[in-house]
Structures are given as C-alpha cells and as structure tokens.
Amino acid sequence: MVEEALRLQRIALAPGRAERIEAALAPALAAAARTLLPLEFEVDPTSYALVLERCKA
C-alpha cells in the first residue's frame, strides 16, 4: 500500500523502505484512531481559529 501510494505521488523509495515505513506507520495510525474524541457532526477544522480566540487569556 505504501509503495503504491508513494509511486503514484512520484516519491522514489529505496528497496525495502516501503515495508519499513508501513511497519512504523501502522501503529501510529492505529494510535491516532484509538484516541479520537467523539465530535459533533458540524465540527470542521476551520472552527479552530474561533476556539483559539475564545480560549485566550
């Protein structure tokens, strides 16, 4: 999967590198998915600027 994804983006990899990236990335992606907060449907990344303003000192 990694090899194909990078090939399509024209990023060259050394032989055997795709397997090592996959091995390192899989637990990171799993960890990211495991800790997600249940967000309201309406939340999108642009709300961040408003929250930064709302939370200020």
Binding site: L6, I11, L13, A24, L29, A33, T35, L36, V43, L52
Partner: protein, 454 residues
C-alpha cells in the same frame, strides 16, 4: 569589570543606554568568545562581525544571531540544507525587520537541523552542532545553533522556530530560556515554512526577562501574514506574579516522569510556591494522544511542503530528513483532516480542564536525560529510533494546540546536564508565562549558570 558578553541582554542594553559601554566593545566581547567556542560547538554557519545598525530602540547595539532560516533581502539563507545552500532571499523576514527597527545587531546566522526537521542538532550538510555543557551530547533541535550560542554566551539572544519543540528542546538541553509563541502571534513572513498549522517563531535568551524584550519587539499583527492576530502585544514584567496559579500534576510526575526529571519538577513547584504563586494539583491532560495527533499533522504538512524537491532532488536531502519525510506521503488525507478536526475540542479541554483554576501548566520539556550525538545519529544502532522518538512527545502537543509555552532551566541531572521545564498557557498568554518565569528565576539561579570553557 566582568566579561560583558556574560551579562544578560537586559543588563547589556541598559549599559549601552547609559553609555557605560559602547556597542563596539560589546560586539568585541562576543567575538572573542565566538573565536574560542565556535570550533567546539559549530553553532555559527556564518559570522558577520561587521554588523551595524543605525536604528535606536530598546535593543540598540545588542549583538544577536539567528537560525539560518530567517530571510534577509540580498543575503544567503541556507535553511540547514544542501538544496538551499547559497540561496539568496529577495525579502527580509518580518521578525528580523522588527528586531532591526529595535536597534539589534545581527552578527551571524546559526546552525540548525536541515529544513528545521530534526530534534537533535545533527546536520549532514553543515556539520553537527554540539552542546556547550558536554560537546558529546546533543544541543537539541531544530534551533540547535540558537540554543548553543545563547548558552555559551556568544550572543545575547537568538530567534528560533518551533513546529514541534524546536525552540524549547534546544533551550532545555542547553540550559537557556525559550519562548514558543501562540500560533499567529509572530509573523512568519519571510521565514522558512515547514508546517503551516504548527509553525511558530520565538526567542531563545538567558532569562525570561530577556525573552520578554525580544518577544515585545517581534510580536504583533503583520498584514503580510494573514494568520497573525490583532490581539495587543504585552510584555510587561513589572506586575508581580504573586497570586498567579500554576497547575501541576504530581501523579503524572510520579507515574510517568524520569526520576531525575520528576525531582526537578517537584523542586520547581516548591520554588514557585515560595515565590508566592499558588500551586494547583491537576490531572495531566492527554499528552500522548495529543502528541500523536500533532505528529500526524506535522508529517502530512511537512511532506506536502517538500513534495516538489522530494520528487526532483531526493538525493540532496540528508538521509535522516528524507527518512522523516517519506512516511508523510502515506498518511491518508482523512486521518490528517480528522487530526485537525480534533484540535479545537482538545484545545477547549486543555483550557477548561487543566487550566480551569490555573494560569499555566508546569511540565518538563523532555522526559529523558540528554543523549549523545552518537546515540541519536546515523550510527546509533537499534536504539537510535527509540531515543529520538522519546525527544518530542512533551513538546509536540503544545504546537498541536497552538498555545504558548515558556521553557526554563529547572536544574541539572546527575551528569551535569541541564533539565528544562515548561510553563504552558492559554492562547496569547505569553506575558503571563513570562511573569511567572521571571518570578521563578528570581527565586532560583539555574538560568545564571553557564557552561565552563575547558
């Protein structure tokens, strides 16, 4: 008279204003130290001893040097890389313009991790930067030269950039004070980009007071950077910190911190209490989950930023940076965007829970003792990846939330290396963090200790 290069920035600026010392004499004192230290540290990429500045202001005549990624019209910014080696910028960065307008001198450019994408201070193109407390150990990165030069008293302050800890890691490892600013507080116009959702610019200096002087000069709205805030800039340390509240998690320190780091954290809490601040016990925020989300954002954005050169000139990257960039192309867009969606909710939680009854959260910068350059370099063996992985988790979450953090020297470990602590605040709370840091530094002397020339 003691060596004026060892004075604080505030003392040096005062001496210049009162004409007890000339700018030429101060510069000569710095150059003398640079001559002795540079061969051991490799902190400077280029020295500009002819620096001059006709402007008058609060930093008039004070010698500074900056990470080699702040552009100056007609001058070279190598960005720590082979790809940008010898590249001449056509415009000057907003932060440098503002320091220039305040009268500061720029006497050189400082070493850094290639494209600011590395936490140790290694650099395959310009040579590794070394820690002045022990030249076998890492100075931290990516603002490695900034940390080393300020710690060795070669300059009075330096700009760094902080995308995942790049101001605070070298500040902590080199035993100086560093301010990671709120996202949008300091203009990024004319500074090398890495990750647009995380990049911030901040000063490294010898004290919170010195950082306040530099921060006051560089912060504020800039129409050329649409992410900058119009929030007024305040950097007044004359108000006492007594009564301000600092959140601290003894349970986290007991459970998760390295014993020597935990001891420094407890002693810092006691010092703050003795300085009249209130210590509030809290549960630590979800540091690891926030760090994981921050890593996703960092990898995806850094790899996108470098996509063209990674296609056209991959062999011109150092091996470590290329290895850091490659995984970013395999992160699904949905995972990246989900990490950005999570950010608002996690920021609100941090402010509403951790800082509910407090003005700042006290936590270490690093949870390990300073490793060696060898342990974390290309020949570091099987442990290398693990050690490097342990460097960023306590800093990355702060960039992910976008909040400010002040890194302060908080003691020394059993090997004589500095231990750094950080005060993390609400958005735009830089002045409050600097006031707390100043109070801490009036109650302790860690920031006054300097590495010896051997």
């Amino acid at each position: 008279m003691s060596d004026p290069a060892t004075w604080s920035l505030a003392e040096a600026a005062r001496a210049l204003r009162e004409r007890r010392l000339s700018s030429k004499e101060l510069l000569a004192a710095c150059l003398k130290r640079i001559e002795r230290w540079q061969p051991r540290l490799n902190a400077f990429v280029e020295l500009e001893p002819e620096a001059g500045n006709a402007a008058t202001g609060p930093l008039c005549g004070v010698p500074l040097a900056h990470k080699d990624m702040f552009y100056r019209a007609g001058r070279v910014s190598n960005c720590g890389s082979k790809i940008r080696r010898g590249w001449v910028a056509s415009a000057t960065s907003a932060a440098l313009e503002r320091l220039g307008a305040a009268g500061a001198l720029q006497i050189g450019t400082l070493n850094m991790a290639e494209f600011a994408y590395g936490p140790t201070g290694h650099n395959e193109h310009f040579g590794d930067c070394r820690n002045p407390w022990d030249t076998a150990r890492i100075p931290g990165g990516s603002s490695s030269g900034s940390g080393a030069a300020v710690a060795a008293r070669l300059v009075f302050g330096a700009l760094g950039s902080d995308t995942g800890g790049s101001v605070r890691l070298p500040a902590a490892l080199c035993g100086v004070t560093g301010l990671k600013t709120t996202l949008g507080r300091v203009s990024r116009h004319g500074a090398m980009p890495l990750c647009h959702s995380l990049d911030t610019i901040g000063p490294l200096a010898r004290s919170a007071e010195d950082c306040a002087l530099l921060y006051g000069a560089i912060a504020g709205f800039d129409a050329r950077d649409p992410t900058t805030s119009r929030e007024p800039v305040k950097a007044d340390l004359s108000q006492p910190a007594r009564g301000l509240r600092v959140a601290f998690s003894p349970a986290w320190a007991e459970r998760d911190a390295h014993p020597e780091v935990a001891k420094a954290l407890r002693e810092a809490a006691a010092a703050l209490r003795s300085a009249g601040l209130a210590l509030v016990e809290v549960e630590a925020p979800p540091l690891e989950p926030m760090s994981v989300q921050g890593m996703i954002v960092m990898q995806a954005e850094a790899s996108a930023q470098h996509a063209r050169w990674m296609r056209e000139r991959p062999a011109d990257y150092g091996s470590a940076v290329r290895a850091r960039l490659e995984p970013g192309y395999a992160i699904p867009a949905t995972v990246y965007l989900e990490a950005l969606r999570q950010r608002s909710a996690l920021l609100e939680r941090f402010c509403e829970d951790t800082l509910r009854d407090a003005d700042a959260f006290l936590v270490p910068v690093l949870n390990l003792l300073a490793p060696t350059l060898e342990e974390t370099g290309a020949h570091g063996g099987a442990e290398m990846r693990k050690v490097i992985g342990e460097i960023g988790p306590l800093t990355r979450w702060v960039n992910y939330l976008g909040v400010p953090s002040l890194a302060l020297p908080g003691g020394f470990d059993s090997r004589g290396m500095p231990i750094g602590l950080q005060l993390v605040g609400r958005p735009f709370a830089e002045e409050m963090l600097l006031r707390i840091g100043h109070a801490f530094q009036q109650a302790t002397d860690w920031h006054l200790r300097a590495p010896r020339e051997s």
